[in-house]
Subunit: 507 residues, 2 copies
């Protein structure tokens, strides 16, 4: 690896350059680390690897706070090495998932806008080391982040010491697209002066007491590419229904052709929806989201999206090359913010976002489970979906109507875990259609959810449940003995489908 | 009743005075009404009564939107008369509760800050008549509300026509304590310029196109007094534990003696907590809440509370006399705002409120049910508790550890309905103690909730459940077949207690 001292423009800091091994050696048992990184973008790489190596010959544990999920297999390696005490606020790695579900370490699943407040107000353990990836350190002492900001600002401000990883693989052209705003202490803060997605309200980088910078490490490794899956038949249908809904909103005079700033979760459905916008009549769109995926850049290229605000850029391999080698085309159309600002209820409500997130399952009354498979097993975490859905103009949840080849219905009588209550869920979309639940009482929602969202193979079974529930009465009728029976059947018989189950039993 | 034309200072409007019967006669079948009124305060009285009278000889239905619950038995009379199509966003009347649980009309349970957005963006049916209680109409055409503001501003702005009830029983000294701020359309609005509970940011009253005022009715009837219950042994213990927690926060350097602006739900526990503050060391307190109850005025009298912002004042009979006959003592320490502003996520987060609300039940992982008895039967509604808990500095939930003489444990393995997810619940307090859940993973929370909050009679049974759940694994371990068994047992056997149940079965 090439040490590029030019990237440390503040020359006083140049003598702090150390190897990743040296930096990792400073980390003691029981310490708390704040790592840059959000959805595989902008994560520190070398120091975590060195730390994992230390675990081969040493017993220790650290708490790891991040922006969101890390790339470069770091979450996997940390989980395998068994060095985690507490991990927060989000993850998305299969090995980490397995380990945390075994209770191997404590995972704290938080709203992504909340972590910074808990750090600022000293509720969480103080961070010993903030370890932050940077493009460069400017002469005036700003740390310039790379492809994500995440929680890096609050980590840097509140950590006892800071380690910087200057990643020479990250293009210097990234300098200038960050906007670091610190809201200040609760009770003493002013309004956040942002009224449009494109507003710049903060600094070009992270400003810290440079005495806290204990070491600087050079790295030379691109972000992990996104693991995005191309649109399939169902996700295209979901996108089409969602676009139909938005068109109807225009027809009803509630939206214009430029819609409202869009937020979209990550994953294939989200990407498919944005792809769908390419061929739509919508124009002059803006994005105010967490993560920008490939499709947003296609929309910028097509002139559909005017501006995109985010807290991280996560691209597939090809797209990464394309975007970063033509970065001048995008520079004035992008801004990266701390996740506290990208996900801030104040901004989300003010801008009136259209928020699109993915559910694991929804119930007939519109409650959403985004996180817990069968009520217990954590998938990834709530992420920013709660920040957005609660405060947006439109809280839209998308999901395929069935999973596991139809053995699971994603529309159930009673979700096995609630992340988003009926109060926060405006519209549910599956490949079957969309259900607009706004302003409806629970009993009014049932028909829409069953007839427009559930897979036909499960509709009768859902009606059977609801009709029996009606005999019990109540605002939100349920048959408590059967409420979770679909999940219990799946666990025992491998299917939620009654008819299959009976057939199975006959054999 | 005395018509006091002096209260219609805008003389051009004086010829619009009509009887309540005439005003009620304008209301047609299928219309949507927006009524003033929030937690028994400031509700219109005469026109609703006249409408109920019409129902004796006529078949019709209306949709009724309010601020929150109405007083003067209007919710009861509407429910009994069978004239409701849809009712939103909150209610708290026993008869209305029974009827809506029978499905007699559609009740839409909403976050109290959300209704205004849904009206402003034309998602809900347009309001035909806003019917608003007023102290007076000023010469410059402002409608001065009485003891609550609720949703009156947005109702007045978006209704086709307006009926004003001037209530001469409401003292004119109320003029000047209101602060009506309209945030404007989402996407086009500025930050809400409020940074302290005492900031005044709006107008003295509701300004509307006076051509929309179709009629003015005089009334002379005080608000219904609050039905507050005096602190009992348990609520005093809850208050004591809560105060211990706040003291600990001061000791840990996270709060000062003036705490942070306080929000408290209504009801006896909330009132007991505020009573508890009277004898505490806390000083220079501020309140930023929805409803002010008796105890806040005692705290103002004692010099403990410097300022209180609210959207309604609901007092007991004696306190009402006392406060309104000495109103000059309180005038500069109070402000009434629209519920959109009292409950606005932007303000709640900025001020860093300490938010205290009451739960029906909590589970061992910290999920809260505030609304649905046994998962189905609506109690009142979520009210503002979600606006507050999600965005506050501290989302605190209080409940007695048992209900119905111990037949029900308010701490259960799995709540039968979720209003507040574990992500929004910071602290749970019962008469047994408090559990500070901040920054803890689900498995870390269980011991605190069981040992500090559950009633001793249920602790072993909770541990039994959790220990079995642990054998199943997962981030949030559950035994799905038994998750709702406590509620099912209560429904079938009249108790959640296993030992009693078995005894019962032996007999
Ligand atoms: C909900 C979430 C897991 C869906 O992810 P996705 O990749 O779009 O969805 P998929 O349909 O591919 O499903 C993922 C897996 O869950 C399984 N699944 C889907 N629905 C399921 C259900 N109801 N029950 C059990 N498993 C289910 C799928 O079969 C698939 O399993 P596999 O990995 O073994 O193939 C993901 O969006 C998420 O983590 N959301 C929460 C955070 C969030 O919203 N972030 C965005 C805003 S910040
Ligand atoms: C939750 C809520 C109903 C509690 O009300 P409360 O009057 O303080 O509490 P109580 O302990 O007196 O309980 C009220 C009733 O519920 C019953 N109850 C309490 N816990 C119960 C449980 N776990 N299961 C079933 N019933 C329960 C009580 O026995 C009592 O019944 P009764 O009316 O037949 O005597 C009330 O606070 C509420 O509606 N909250 C939601 C809205 C809100 O938070 N608003 C404030 C902020 S805006």
């Amino acid at each position: 690896m090439e040490n590029n001292y030019e990237r440390i423009q503040n020359t006083a800091l140049r003598d702090r350059v150390v190897s990743a091994e040296t930096a990792a050696s400073w980390i003691g048992n029981g310490m708390t680390l704040g790592l840059s990184g959000f959805t595989r973008a902008g994560d520190v790489k070398a120091v975590p690897f060195a730390l994992v190596n230390r675990a081969e010959s040493e017993d220790f544990k650290v708490n790891v706070y991040t922006g969101a999920s890390l790339g470069s297999d770091i979450d996997k390696l940390f989980a395998e090495a068994g060095i985690l005490g507490k991990r927060l606020p989000f993850q998305a790695d299969a090995t980490m998932r397995r380990k945390l579900n075994e209770g191997a370490f404590h995972f704290v699943d938080q709203h992504l806008s909340h972590t910074s407040e808990l750090i600022r107000s000293n509720v969480l353990d103080q961070i010993d080391f903030a370890i932050l990836e940077a493009v460069s350190i400017t002469e005036d002492g700003f740390i310039i982040p790379t492809t994500s900001i995440g929680n890096s600002l609050v980590f840097a401000q509140h950590a006892k010491e800071i380690i910087i990883e200057i990643n020479v693989a990250q293009p210097e052209s990234l300098e200038g697209i960050h906007d670091l705003f610190e809201p200040g202490e609760q009770g003493k803060r002013d309004p956040i002066p942002l009224t449009k997605p494109e507003d710049r309200i903060g600094a070009k980088g992270i400003q810290v007491d440079l005495n806290k910078v204990k070491g600087i490490v050079f790295t030379n490794q691109m972000d992990s590419p996104s693991t995005i899956v191309a649109p399939d038949e169902e996700t295209v249908m979901i996108a089409d229904h969602l676009i139909d809904f938005l068109k109807q909103e225009i027809e009803d005079g509630r939206l214009t052709k430029s819609l409202a700033p869009l937020q979209s979760g990550i994953g294939s459905v989200a990407n498919a929806v944005f792809h769908g916008l390419l061929n739509s009549d919508f124009t002059d769109l803006k994005v105010y989201s967490e993560v920008l995926q490939d499709a947003v850049f296609d929309l910028i290229d097509a002139g559909k999206v005017q501006f995109a605000s985010c807290c991280s850029i996560t691209l597939s391999e090809g797209k990464m090359d394309e975007v970063f080698s033509n970065f001048e085309n995008y520079r004035d159309k992008l801004v990266l913010r701390p996740q506290e600002i990208s996900n801030h209820p104040e901004i989300i409500r003010r801008l009136g976002l259209i928020s699109i997130n993915t559910a694991l399952e929804a119930d007939i009354y519109g409650n959403i489970n985004s996180t817990h498979v069968q009520g217990s097993k954590m998938m990834n975490g709530i992420g920013g979906s709660g920040d957005f859905a609660r405060n947006a103009r439109l809280g839209i949840f998308v999901t395929k109507s069935i999973a596991k080849g139809g053995k699971i219905s994603s529309i159930v009588p009673y979700v096995s875990h609630v992340d988003h209550t009926e109060h926060d869920v405006d519209v549910i979309v599956t490949e079957q259609g969309y259900a607009d639940l706004r302003g409806l009482a629970p009993r009014e929602r049932v028909e829409l959810v069953i007839e427009r969202c559930a897979h036909p193979m499960y509709r009768e079974q859902l009606w059977d449940y609801y009709n029996e529930a009606l005999t019990r009465g109540g605002h939100t009728p349920h048959v408590l003995e059967k409420a979770l029976s679909w999940h219990i059947n799946y666990a025992k018989e491998g299917t939620m489908l009654e008819s299959e189950k009976k057939v199975g039993m006959k054999v």
